[in-house]
Structures are given as C-alpha cells and as structure tokens.
C-alpha cells in the first residue's frame, strides 16, 4: 500500500502564524513520508515545547507533544523500548539547545536511532520574541533591549562535538534540499540531526536572507556534496581550502585544484566536518548547507536489544521461581 500526503495530515487545524516557515517544513515532511516504504503505525513523532513542537499534532502518526526540552529523552525511551519504530523528534533552538541541551547531546552521543529536526529560527517565538541560544550577539529583543550579550551556539559544531554520527543543515525555503536531507537522515541508522534554518516572519523575519534572498544566496550558499570539491558562488568562483588546519574561503582562481577540500561526509574522524562547520557561526556570509557527517557507529537501542536477546539465549527465559531463590533459601518445616 502506498500513501499520499493526505494520509499524513490530521484533522487538526494547523495554527502557526501565516507565512511561518514551519508550514513548508510540514509539507516537505508529509510529502517525504508519502513517498516512503514505511507503515504509518510504526512512526512516532515526539516534541517538546515551542512553535515547532506543535508538529506532532499535524502528523497522522503516533505522537507525543511533551514538555520543554525533554523530547530527546522521551524519544530515547520510545526508541529503546521498541527499536523497530521510526522515531522523529521535532524542536526549536530554545527547546533543543537551551532547556533541552543536555538531552540533545546525550542522545547524539549514545547514537539512539532517531531523527532530530531542529527548527532554528534564532528566536523564542511562542513566548513572543526573546533572544535564543542561536541569536546573534547584539540582537535587540524584548529581553535584550540594549542588545544581547549572549554568545550563540553553532548547532552543527555542537552536534559534531557531541559525537553525532549524522549532522546536516538545510533551509525551510528549499524543499528539494530539505527532502534530500530527510531522506539521508532516515537512511542513517542512529541519531541524525538536521538543523533547519526556519524563518519566523513575526519575531525574526529575514534572519536567513543571506541564504534565501535572490541577490545574496549564490554568493553565500555553500552546498556540501560528499566526494565533491567544496566550491560555491554564482559561477563556482569560490573554493574552500585548508589554511593551517582550518577551513577557509579562497578565490578558486588563486588556488591549485588539489588544494580545494573534497568533502568526505563518511570520514571516521569528525575534524574536517567540524572545520567546515566553523566557516560561518550562523547564517551570515558564506554558510555550508548539506550533510556534514554521516558515519556508522553501533546504535544504543540495537546494542541493548542484542544484550537482552543474548542473555535470554544464554540463560533461558526468566523464571520467577529461580529469581526469588537466587540468594539461597532454607526451609522451615
């Protein structure tokens, strides 16, 4: 049986602000699932709190809209309890990187089989416009009238530092790219984090204009493709090269082709991916999009399931009578 997008829609009215980037992401995800060979009943969406976290209500799968920051922990329980499920976690920058930062990094390091969609709009939307852990320094918001003095996270660098096995970045406005990232993340067994630059047209409009604007995007969008030299620009006139251990941007004409970094998303070592993630500390100027890293490492949920299977094979199915007498007994006549 094959699905259409409608099969993944619910009867709930979608209540994001008109023009919100979340609509395009929802459409991309629903379309993506319609094209998959996966049963709807085996899909679970878990979210925390925030605008993005309303997502499960709009997906006709199993779902839980939980509490702020805890979605990766709750999803861990779902995935570990039943490794056969396809587990998806949706959250914003405040949810994943501020209140839930601890759960995010530990889910990534354990390599729990789940896909995490980080809707990064660089602002707190649901609470009506405070600076977030990805807002740029100096940002003026209701809670930072004189400009934010908080230094932001680079979510891709953070995920790589947290031993993530799959990290990608995409844009809400580019549905084809988003779909390609969803596909790759879904194919990856283990934790997969996709940072999705998502426009909040009410509280932080045009935050990603340098990557979406017609005039700016060719100059700024660095598309990472595994096995290809990292070049960008309207005429691919720019290249990313090594400069003393860090990745830097050069005019393609000024460097020898052999100096251009050839992207290797499957490299065992995350150093090169990390270096690429440092090209931009936010969507300002030339910024890489695409899959930074995609490697295999044993998956926690599988390992635990195997331990259960192995123990049962070695010792036989548990016997309560044996359990309660395991410390030795004596009999009173």
């Amino acid at each position: 049986m094959s699905y259409t997008r409608v099969d993944f829609q619910t009867d709930q009215e979608v209540r994001w602000c008109p023009g919100c980037g979340d609509y395009t992401i929802l459409a991309a995800v629903q379309n993506f699932f319609a094209g998959l060979d996966i049963k709807r009943e085996n899909v679970v969406f878990v979210s925390g709190i925030g605008c993005a976290a309303r997502f499960p209500y709009y997906m006709n799968t199993y779902g839980m809209h939980a509490i702020h920051g805890r979605a990766p922990a709750i999803a861990t329980g779902v995935a570990v309890a039943n490794p056969a499920l396809s587990v998806w976690v949706v959250g914003g920058d405040g949810d994943f990187l501020s209140i839930g930062g601890n759960h995010l990094i530990h889910a990534l390091r354990r390599n729990i089989d789940m896909t995490l969609l980080l809707f990064n709009n660089q602002i707190y939307g649901l609470t009506k416009g405070q600076y977030s852990p990805t807002s740029e320094p100096g940002k003026t918001t209701k809670s930072s009238p004189g400009g934010s003095i908080d230094y932001p996270f680079n979510p891709v660098s953070l995920a790589l530092g947290a031993e993530a096995t799959f990290v990608a970045r995409t844009l809400d406005m580019d549905r084809n790219h988003t779909t390609a990232m969803l596909k790759a993340a879904h194919a990856h067994r283990g934790s997969a984090l996709i940072e999705i630059y998502q426009n909040c047209n009410v509280f932080n409009d045009k935050a990603f204009i340098q990557l979406t604007g017609k005039a700016e995007r060719y100059a700024n969008r660095i598309d990472l493709v595994h096995g290809q030299p990292v070049v960008f620009g309207a005429d691919k006139e720019k290249a990313v090269v090594w400069d003393g251990g860090r990745a830097t941007i050069a005019d393609r004409n000024s460097v020898h082709p052999s100096q251009i970094i050839v992207h290797d998303a499957h490299a065992e070592d995350a150093s090169a991916a990390f270096a690429l993630s440092r090209l931009a500390h936010g969507p300002y100027g030339p910024t890489p999009l695409g899959i930074f890293r995609d490697v295999y490492r044993p998956v926690y949920d599988d390992a635990l399931q195997e331990a259960v299977t192995r123990s049962t094979a070695a010792r036989g199915s548990g016997d309560l009578g044996k359990l309660v007498t395991s410390l030795g007994t004596w009999t009173v006549e």
Partner: protein, 634 residues
C-alpha cells in the same frame, strides 16, 4: 525487660540459661543484637552480611540495619569514616534490628567512640587492640587510651590482636604487603561465628564462590576466617559462648533479602504477570542505585535498563517507554523526585502508566544521603504543579517491597496513571527473612490495551472505561490507532487540544475522580486491637517494625493499644474514616516532621498526636512503647 516481641507469639522464656560446652560456658538467650563497627575500608558491611547469612541459614529470625558514611572513603580512622552493620538474631519472630547491641565489634578507636554509648551495660566488646595507637586515638578524639583508662569498666572486654593474627594466618596465601590486613574482617567474623556456636561452612562456601577467581584473596580470607574461629576455641580468655536457637517461623521456604532487591524482583514479577516488558530508567543516586544494579542482571526476563544523563531524562525515557508499551519505571531518591516532577505531571495529564520509585533519604537537598527518612510524603502526594493527584503507596519492610512493587504496577496499568512507590534507606539496605510466596499463584495483571477503533472507524484516545474511568492504551505499531497525546489540556474523548473552560473543569474532575476511585479497589486498613483500646497507633512505611514491636511491648506492660499500618497513602483506604472515628486518640510516629499526621488531620478532621523525629536512624521500639505509656498515663 524490653523486648520487641511480636505480640501474637507467647513471651519466650527469660534469657540467661547457662550451660557448658567443654569448659566454655554457654549463655542461651532468645535474641542478641550484634553490631560490627569499623573504618569504612574495614569491610564491616561484608562481615555483617556474611554473619547475617550464616544466621539465616541456621534458622534464626533476624533483621538488619547497615549504616555507612556518605563518603566512599572518609579519611581513615576518623569519626565520619565509621561504618557499621547491626543485626538482631532471635529464636522467635522479631521485627527490628534491635535497639542496643549486646555485642560490639570495634575495629578502631573511632568505631568505639561512635558506638560505645549504645552498648548494653552488660555488653561484650571485641576490640582490634592493635588499632589503638596514638595516631588513631588522636583521630578519634580520645585524650587517653579507653582500653587503659577505665572507660570500659563493666563491659566484657576482649582485646584481640587482630592484625598480628591476620598477618600470621594469611602467610603463604599469596597476598602480601598492605593487602594482608584486608582480611581482618574475616578474622573478626570467624571469632564471632565461634562465639555464637556457628561453623564457618556457609561463610567459607561464599568466600570460595565470591573470590574463587582471585585465588590469593580467597585463600587469605579463608585462612583469616579459620584463624578467628580457632582463636575462639583456643584462647582461654574466651570462656563464653552465646546460643541463639533457630526460630519457630511459619513453615515455608525462606530467603534473606534486602528491600532494594525485593523491590527489583517485584518489578520483574509485575512484568511477567502483566506480559509487559520492563523498562527501568535511572540516574545513579544513593540509596536507589542498587535497584538499577539488580535489574541489569535480569535481562533474560526481557528487562531493559537505561542509565540516563540526569533524573529528568530518566523520567522522560520511562514515559517514552510507557508510550511504546513497556512497564515503565524510574527510580530515585528525594532530590531526584523533585527533578522528575514536571515529567510526572505530564504522565498524569496524558494518563500514561508509569511507576516512580522514591527510596527516601534524609533531606532537604543532599541532606543525609545514606540515612533513612520519610520526609518525601508531601512531595509524593502534593509536590507537582497544577491539579495533579496520583496514587502513592509505601513499602513497610524489605520483603513487603516485593508485593508493593507488584501492586504499584497493577494500579498504574489498570488505571492508566503514574504511581509513586515510597521506600526508604532503611528498607532498601536492611534485610529480613522472607517467606517466599507461591509464585504460580500470583494473580495476572490485566492491561487495558486498545485493540481497535472505539468510535466508528476512529480511535479516540480519551474515551474511557466507565468503571475505572481509565482510557485505553494504544501502542505504536498498532495500525489504525495512530493518535497524538500531549501536555496541553485535551478534549474529553477525542484528546484534541482544548482550551474550553468547561472541558478543563471536566477533565480535572475526571482525573481526580479516577484516582480517588482507586480507594474502592484496595484492601481496607486492618486494625490489630485485641483489647478494645482507646488509642490507635498508625504507621506507614518502614516505621512498621519499630511501631509494631513497640505496641507489643506496651501491651505487655498493660497498655490497651490498637495498631494499624497504612500501605496506601493516596488515596487512603476506604475504611479510614470509620477506623479513625473508633478511637479517642490516634498516635502517628514518623521519620519526618509530622507529614502523615497533617494529612490525616486535614482529610479526616481528626485530632492526631504526632510523634516525629528526623535523626537519620529508625525509631527504636523502646521509644514507641515509652510514648504509648506516656499517653496512656502509665
């Protein structure tokens, strides 16, 4: 004379019968309290546990009270570093580890300093005399040597050169250097086994099993054990043995179990009885960690354990596992329960089954991590944001934790609600003989699974069973039952997000009613009142043993007093109003500042005499009986 005799048994013969055994006098007594005390590195817990096993297999009834410092290795020889293990053995059905020891093993001056004040006036002291050097005496705060200055006058003191004896004994075992002295706890144990007329076989078998892979250590411990035993036989200064005969316990098969293990086994049993795989998520915390250690060993029951990054994640993972169809449990101690509160409220409003185990310890904050207290009762019953009632039940002894764990699972699953199970540090680490239940006759636990659409071709997650008001549990993987749940208020029936004022009132009322209605599905409080008393003593949790023994003691002194213990703290059992109104006075002893007392006063509008203490040690039964006598005006 005080005794914590169970009032259902006749008073035993007075102790003090003396006989002989080849020139050695044998004092027969009905019970004896023994305390091992030493530095936290001296292996006192091990010695105590081994003696306990030997006594249990011999057939004594017993109860234990391990006490250890929060620091893993406080500076050697200091007062904070003292670790102890107390047990009472008896030839009848005792309930408590006893109030004052009759035998004290003191491995160093600090141990003597801390514990001497508890020793009975006629008590026996076994002293590791070589530890009483100037340095150790100074660390313990002795200005003069208590072995020489008359401090110990009146006690039956045995100074044993334990270090020399151990060094001699372990020669040739292959252990050398400082490791040699590690076996001295076995030397002390061997001597004690001789004193109580037990052979060393049970202990030696255990040593072979435990240390078989490290042969030198095994040999050293066996040699020290034997040497201690032989020292008793050959040294003329030991002219006294103590005989405590096997107890006449109800017929059956027994094992000796501590509360954390019994609780773990209860969870495993609940998994088997419900057919739900057990998922246990926890963050290391004293004194609950042992549950995690125990459960990880039983994967062949399908048990999955998850050591989370923090307490919040442990609660979250448990809730996620519940959503995926597991019997989900998270365990912790007081501070962790505070952290889990938000998730428990989510489980409450989504109506997901989940068990939260709180092994209470002294609080607030880090408090007294290794000491028992009952001060999380309010937190368990009331400690959540919003109107968030849920069932709370408490174990009252180590073996009771088995049954209570199954009961927590029964209620959680049947009523689709989180349940808080209260234990405490005393129950968790203390052990007692447990007459094993007939496993085959344990009742199966029903699970309210959704099996298909319940409203035409639709599945509505918040349609309810009108008897229990419980919703159906639809597990991911079931086609056609896809649904969303969440922390936002939901419309009755559909579960859709709803901000409607009347609906919020309705849902709040339904959730409260559902929990309150559980009162009709739990046993009534049983009152033990043979004499038609005016005074009722009510206990909950681990005060059970001391309170029951104290009541028995007061009765023997002529007091008319009734006794009841409460397992169900929220909701209370249905006959509570009748029970409370049958007595002029109600006494509630608790290891807190009167939390149950306030709950009873508030809920039943009854005057209550609160008897509370938070000293990090369980009540002594003598304290309870004295309080009863005071109220009775005797």
């Amino acid at each position: 004379m005080d005794s914590d005799h169970n009032p259902v048994n006749p008073l035993p013969e007075a102790p003090g019968v003396t006989g002989t055994n080849g020139g050695v006098s044998v004092d027969r007594t009905d019970r004896m309290v023994i305390r091992f005390a030493g530095d936290s590195g001296d292996g006192m817990q091990l010695a105590g546990n081994r003696f306990t096993d030997a006594a249990a297999i011999f057939g004594n009834d017993l109860a234990t009270l391990p006490t250890f410092p929060a620091e893993i290795r406080a500076p050697a020889g200091t007062l904070p570093g003292v670790s102890s293990f107390q047990l009472q053995i008896a030839d009848w059905d005792i309930l408590t580890p006893g109030d004052r020891p009759g035998v004290l093993v003191a491995m160093n001056p600090a141990a003597l300093k801390v514990h001497l004040r508890d020793l009975r006036e006629d008590g026996i002291l076994l002293i590791n005399e070589e530890a009483f050097d100037e340095r150790n005496l100074h660390k313990a705060g002795f200005e003069t040597n208590p072995l020489e200055d008359g401090t110990l006058t009146g006690f039956d003191v045995h100074r044993v050169p334990m270090e020399t004896l151990t060094k001699e004994a372990v020669k040739g075992s292959g252990v050398s250097g400082r490791a040699v002295l590690r076996s001295k706890n076995f030397l002390a144990l061997g001597l004690l086994l001789w004193m109580f007329g037990r052979d060393t076989k049970v202990t030696a078998d255990w040593v072979r099993k435990k240390f078989g892979r490290i042969e030198p250590v095994m040999n050293a411990n066996l040699a020290a054990l034997k040497a201690g035993y032989n020292y008793g036989i050959t040294t003329e200064s030991f002219a006294r043995q103590i005989e405590v005969r096997p107890a006449t316990l109800p017929p059956g098969t027994y094992t000796n179990v501590n509360g954390n293990a019994a609780l773990s086994w209860g969870l495993v049993a609940a998994s088997v009885l419900s057919g739900l795989p057990l998922f246990y998520a926890s963050y290391p915390i004293t004194p609950a960690s042992e549950i995690l250690h125990e459960l990880v060993r039983h994967r062949n029951f399908g048990v999955k354990t998850f050591q989370a990054e923090d307490e919040i994640a442990a609660a979250g993972a448990a809730l996620g596992a519940a959503f995926a169809g597991s019997l989900a449990v998270t365990g912790t101690s007081g501070p962790g329960l505070s952290l889990k509160g938000e998730t428990i409220s989510l489980a409450m409003i989504t109506e997901m089954p989940m068990i939260i185990v709180d092994v209470q310890r002294g609080g607030p904050s880090t408090g007294l991590p290794t000491k028992p207290e009952q001060s999380d009762l309010f937190l368990a019953v009331w400690g959540r944001h919003g109107e968030s009632p849920l069932p709370v039940i408490a174990a009252s002894s180590p073996s009771d934790a088995f049954e209570v764990a199954i009961e927590a699972a029964r209620i959680a699953v049947k009523y689709m609600t989180p349940v808080i199970l209260l234990s405490d540090g005393y129950i968790a680490t203390g052990s007692e003989p447990w007459r094993l239940p007939d496993i085959a006759s344990l009742p199966r636990l029903g699970v309210p699974f959704a099996t298909g659409p319940n409203a035409g071709d639709k599945f509505l997650p918040y349609l309810r069973d009108l008897q229990t008001m419980s919703r159906r549990w639809a597990i991911p993987g079931m086609p056609g039952l896809e649904h969303r749940i969440g922390g936002l208020e939901k419309e009755e029936g559909t579960g859709n997000v709803s901000y409607d004022p009347d609906n919020h009132q309705l849902m709040t009322d339904i959730r409260a009613w559902k929990v309150a209605n559980i009162a009709n599905d739990i046993p009534e409080v049983e009152v033990d009142d043979p004499d038609g008393a005016d005074l009722l003593v009510l206990s909950w949790g681990s005060t059970y043993s001391a309170v029951k023994a104290g009541v028995g003691n007061a009765r023997r002194k002529g007091a008319k007093v009734a006794y009841a213990r409460i397992r169900y703290l929220s909701p209370f059992p249905p006959n509570m109003p009748t029970v409370l109104s049958s007595y002029d006075q109600v006494l509630i002893p608790e290891m807190n500042n009167g939390q149950l007392s306030r709950m009873v006063k508030a809920e039943f509008v009854r005057p209550v005499i609160s008897f509370s203490k938070v000293e990090g040690v369980p009540f002594k039964f003598g304290e309870i009986s004295a309080k009863i006598m005071e109220i009775a005006g005797r």
